[in-house]
């Protein structure tokens, strides 16, 4: 459904006063080279017309923001793809426009994902000047042979240099590593993770390598289930000991350094998504909770967007909403707090959960005065928990 900005509705808040604030996700779909394991909406293209893309992103922002006027902006996240390939002017323009729609939270977080092979101190300084205050680097491995195998465009030295430079220029820095890689052992991962922790990050995203069905990489010999399990537990122990415990299945942070942007979606909050394939979740001016989705192909998104049609939206039923809250909230170590669940759904946890299913999942799932959450073992089998948690 194409949307047109509705000026009259702007500024009218249908939301309570103490809302946690809305998030804005901006998708930049281009990369220097496509990594073989990557399943994201990322593309390689010879030339990008930055002027056109800037205009289109601003158009999409106006459109989507009109659905949710009057909110406080808690976070902006430039993701990809490789958003470090954007012109800093585009980042600045999007931020400037966002602040015409929403008022900034005092703690406004502005994250940019970056590929170490695309940045240097100057680009960092430009992004910082454009308003970015948090950097998320795609390091993937601290081992040249692995980086080569993953067909990355950078080596370990470049990645470490980017981390160090980033920490000098941005107030907050996180980096990503991919583990449970082919032939990886407990010992080699322990060494690598030690190195990573020695770089004194405030935040780390540690993902087990996932190869989608049908990928050419199906032939890669990934560690078996037992090894992957052991690697996971080792990761939990080491990060906790280093003061960066897991606050989500793959995310670790010092207290207070959690990624605010992702917390919004894990806690069932509102976020607007713009750019090819970006998704959003907002309560619109009529009070309906919407799932929005922008056209996935960059070409289509740009061409249709210029005619005012950026994507589609559909209502999320109250039952689907409950499922989504469980699906996301149980990823968090803290789980789903009772008051939050009540606010979001208007119901109690007991009203939606089948007590016998909860009982069967003892040891994996805890339901108490605080709320509903998974145990460490539970988080490792979250998909099975979700399948068994029949909701009413």
């Amino acid at each position: 459904m194409p949307c047109g900005a509705d000026e009259d509705s702007m500024g009218v808040s249908h939301h309570g006063e103490e809302t946690p604030g809305i998030g804005l996700y901006v998708h930049w779909p281009f990369c220097v080279r496509k990594c073989p394991y990557c399943d994201f909406n990322s593309h390689v293209t010879a030339r990008v017309d930055h002027e056109r893309w800037r205009r289109a992103l601003l158009g999409a922002l106006d459109c989507e923001a009109a659905r949710a006027p009057g909110r406080t902006l808690a976070s902006v996240f430039f993701g990809g793809g490789t958003p470090s390939l954007m012109e800093p002017a585009t980042v600045a323009a999007v931020l400037e426009r966002a602040l015409t729609h929403w008022s900034p939270a005092p703690t406004l977080e502005v994250t940019l994902e970056a590929n170490p092979g695309t940045v240097d101190c100057d680009t960092f300084a430009d992004f910082r000047a454009a308003g970015v205050n948090r950097l998320s680097l795609g390091v993937q491995a601290l081992d040249d042979e692995s980086l080569h195998r993953l067909d990355r465009i950078h080596d370990t030295a470049q990645a470490v240099a980017a981390i160090v430079a980033g920490q000098r220029i941005f107030p907050r820095v996180s980096f990503d590593l991919i583990y449970a890689r082919p032939d990886q052992t407990l010992a080699s991962w322990r060494r690598e993770l030690e190195q990573a922790l020695a770089l004194a990050p405030e935040h780390l995203s540690l993902y087990q390598l996932t190869i989608e069905a049908g990928s050419a990489l199906r032939a890669w010999r990934l560690p078996d289930e037992d090894t992957a399990t052991d690697l996971y537990h080792l990761t939990q122990d080491m990060t906790a000991a280093a003061g960066l415990p897991a606050y989500e299945i793959a995310n670790h942070a010092r207290a207070g350094a959690e990624c605010r942007h992702h917390l919004i979606s894990w806690q069932g909050g509102e976020f607007v998504g713009i750019g090819p394939g970006a998704h959003g979740r907002v309560t619109d001016v009529s009070g309906a909770f919407l799932a929005t989705c922008q056209h996935r192909s960059p070409k289509t998104w740009l061409a249709r967007g210029e005619r005012g049609d950026y994507g589609t939206s559909s209502a999320v039923s109250s039952w689907e909403r409950v499922e989504e809250i469980l699906l996301m909230g149980l990823r968090l170590t803290a789980g789903i707090a009772r008051p939050l669940f009540q606010t979001l759904t208007g119901r109690t946890l007991e009203a939606v959960l089948d007590p016998s299913a909860v009982e069967c999942l003892k040891g994996y799932l805890v339901l108490d005065e605080a709320g509903l959450r998974t145990t460490r073992d539970g988080r490792l089998v979250l998909n099975e928990i979700l399948r068994q948690l029949h909701t009413k």
């Binding site: 998030g23 993902y207 996932t210 699906l327 998909n383 099975e384």
Partner: protein, 600 residues
């Protein structure tokens, strides 16, 4: 009224895939029954499963109008029959409704086991047989060799066998002329009391129950009150007509003709295939002989996945039984599966087809339990009981001995594969009764336990002979055997739907095989699951499904929510198709897959 001398009724019979339905296509086309755009390959195979599998399951009747070289116009009633041994019942019904047969033999493959079997059935029915050598367009066709085979193996004069290609249409004129010249017209008396054979019946969503009849004597008219001589049901004829294969209404059916009626029949039980229809006020005194019943030889339980669908399953079975008199069904309850039916079939393909038709035509989801043959249990107190269900096996201390059914199997095999086929028969506890040669092929007759052939024998035979052997069988007798029941325990609980009876010599191997299969078929759970096969409490095989340790999506952010929710919904949907045994979920498909014989 059609002059009897201008009617020819014939069945097209052959081994599977020799081209019966394709020949029917050409005859239909030549007689102008269908427009070019309505024509498609094997047009009479109208069921979805028939088209998908490329085989005929139901016999079909069409009326053709043909003007012969002699200038006269003839009415043909053509019956296309299935070739697979499991559907022999369809063939025998068709044979009873006509006077002649077109015997189709693939000129490249030659005489096969069902060629033989069907010829004998046609001869028994007193048919005139016209042999036709089909597929002569194929480079591998050897019409002369096959002509000789027909004479040597079957003992039928093949001197006048027609050479045709049902695919290209070559020789179709000759087929039509020979139907006129070589087949006898039907006999019958229009003035005698009505006698019509109930050949087939089925349920139509718009018209209700439709009955296919062959008129022997008398005339059947719209509005007439008729009586079924066996069930004694009385009805009034509403519609009357025939198929071309399009449904055409007409005023009456006269002796020798084949056609359909509807008569507001509601009770499925009123309609028994093989029954005789007569006029209520002027009835005939004796019914027609009907059909030799075909007794189901393979039994299994059918249970709805969703227990609330039991009534739907019952109605669906009633409707399907109308269309297929060769399967039986009786209510059954299972500790684990709830209410269902114990059903009997003519073979494993028959069982698969019925299950699939129930699922498609009536949108049911079914669990099929282990197929079993019928054992005769002789008790120590002198009583005998027929065992259709392994679960009902009495306590071994009360059993004196058990008998199992044996068959007489006829196998045709080229010389080169004879050794492998004999070895297979021996492995299956077979006893050789005959071995003769016809040209370069051997005709072997074996006595074999039904239990050993009904499940996978055909596949094995095909594979050891590289596709060249064919076989046919008929039930022979019962004989004493050393049989045991194997129970399967999942997580310590017996799953009755998986228990089966087997010869003691094969017990351990089968038990191990099933445990291994279940290990792959049952998804991992949060705890480890032992799977055991046991005979009377003694464990003979064991496997363990390890506990699920890790199943989680590594990355999941705002953009992934919709996809993850939909995936979860799909998985939950899949979980609904599982049955709970204690704490373990077993997928519905695991039952049939675990018990399927042979090595996959």
């Amino acid at each position: 009224m059609t002059d009897l001398s201008h009617i020819r009724n014939f069945a097209i019979i052959a081994h599977i895939d020799h081209g019966k339905s394709t020949l029917a296509d050409r005859l239909i086309q030549r007689c102008g029954n269908l427009e070019e755009r309505e024509m498609k390959e094997q047009v009479l195979d109208s069921m979805e499963i028939e088209r998908e599998r490329g085989i005929t399951i139901k016999a079909q009747t069409v009326r053709l109008r043909y003007t012969a070289k002699n200038g006269r116009s003839y009415q043909f009633n053509l019956m296309d029959t299935p070739g697979h041994v499991d559907f022999a019942y369809e063939v025998s019904r068709s044979l009873a409704a006509c006077e002649g047969s077109l015997l189709v033999v693939d000129a490249a493959q030659g005489v096969e086991a069902q060629t033989l079997a069907n010829v004998y059935h046609a001869l028994e029915a007193g048919h005139e047989i016209v042999p036709v050598l089909n597929k002569i367009d194929l480079p591998a066709a050897e019409p002369e060799r096959v002509r000789q085979q027909i004479e040597e193996v079957i003992g039928l004069d093949a001197g006048q066998a027609l050479l045709i290609s049902a695919k290209t249409g070559l020789g179709i004129e000759e087929v039509l002329e020979s139907l006129v010249d070589r087949l006898p017209p039907p006999a019958g008396d229009a003035n005698a009391p009505l006698k019509a054979l109930l050949v087939d019946s089925w349920y139509d969503a718009y018209l209700g129950v439709i009955i296919l009849v062959r008129i022997k004597d008398g005339v059947l008219k719209k509005g007439q009150r008729i009586r079924m001589m066996v069930t004694e049901a009385v009805h009034q004829v509403e519609r009357i007509g025939y198929f071309t294969p399009k449904r055409i209404e007409c005023a009456e059916l006269t002796p020798g003709e084949v056609g359909y009626i509807t008569a507001g029949i509601k009770a499925v039980a009123d309609c028994r295939v093989g029954d005789t229809l007569t006029d209520e006020r002027a009835p005939a005194d004796t019914p027609l002989p009907g059909f030799k019943p075909h007794v189901p030889v393979v039994f299994c339980g059918l249970f709805p996945v969703d227990t609330s669908e039991y009534p739907l399953l019952r109605d669906s079975l009633d409707k399907l039984a109308l269309n297929d008199g060769s399967f039986s069904y009786l209510p059954e309850t299972s500790a684990a599966l709830g209410f269902g039916f114990r059903c009997g079939f003519l073979g494993l393909l028959h069982m698969e087809i019925i299950q699939e038709r129930l699922e498609r035509e009536f949108t049911l989801d079914l669990i099929t339990t282990a197929p079993s043959v019928v054992y005769r249990v002789h008790m120590t107190d002198g009583r005998t009981q027929e065992l259709h269900n392994p679960v009902d096996m009495p306590d071994p201390t009360r059993i004196d001995h058990i008998e199992e059914p044996w068959v007489r199997a006829t196998i045709l095999v080229p010389d080169s594969s004879l050794g492998a086929v004999l070895a297979l028969c021996t492995e299956r506890r077979g006893q050789q009764s005959e071995l003769t040669y016809a040209g370069s092929r051997a005709l072997v007759v074996y006595r074999l336990p039904l239990n050993e052939i009904v499940f996978d024998f055909h596949d094995r035979l095909k594979s050891v002979s590289r596709g060249y052997a064919s076989f046919d069988y008929e039930i022979a007798d019962y004989a004493v055997s050393d049989l045991v029941r194997i129970s399967i325990l999942v997580n310590g609980e017996p799953v009755d739907a998986l228990s089966f009876i087997t010869h003691r010599g094969a017990a351990e191997g089968r038990g191990r095989q099933i445990c291994e299969r279940l290990k792959d078929l049952i998804p991992r759970h949060l705890f480890k699951i032992p799977i055991q096969a046991s005979i009377g409490g003694r464990v003979i095989a064991r496997e363990t499904i390890p506990a699920l340790r890790k199943d989680v999506t590594a990355k999941c952010y705002g953009g992934d929510i919709t996809r993850k929710r939909k995936l979860l919904d799909k998985q939950k949907e899949g979980k609904k198709k599982m049955r709970q045994f204690g704490k373990v979920d077993i997928p519905q498909s695991a039952f049939i897959k675990a018990l399927r014989l042979g090595d996959e």
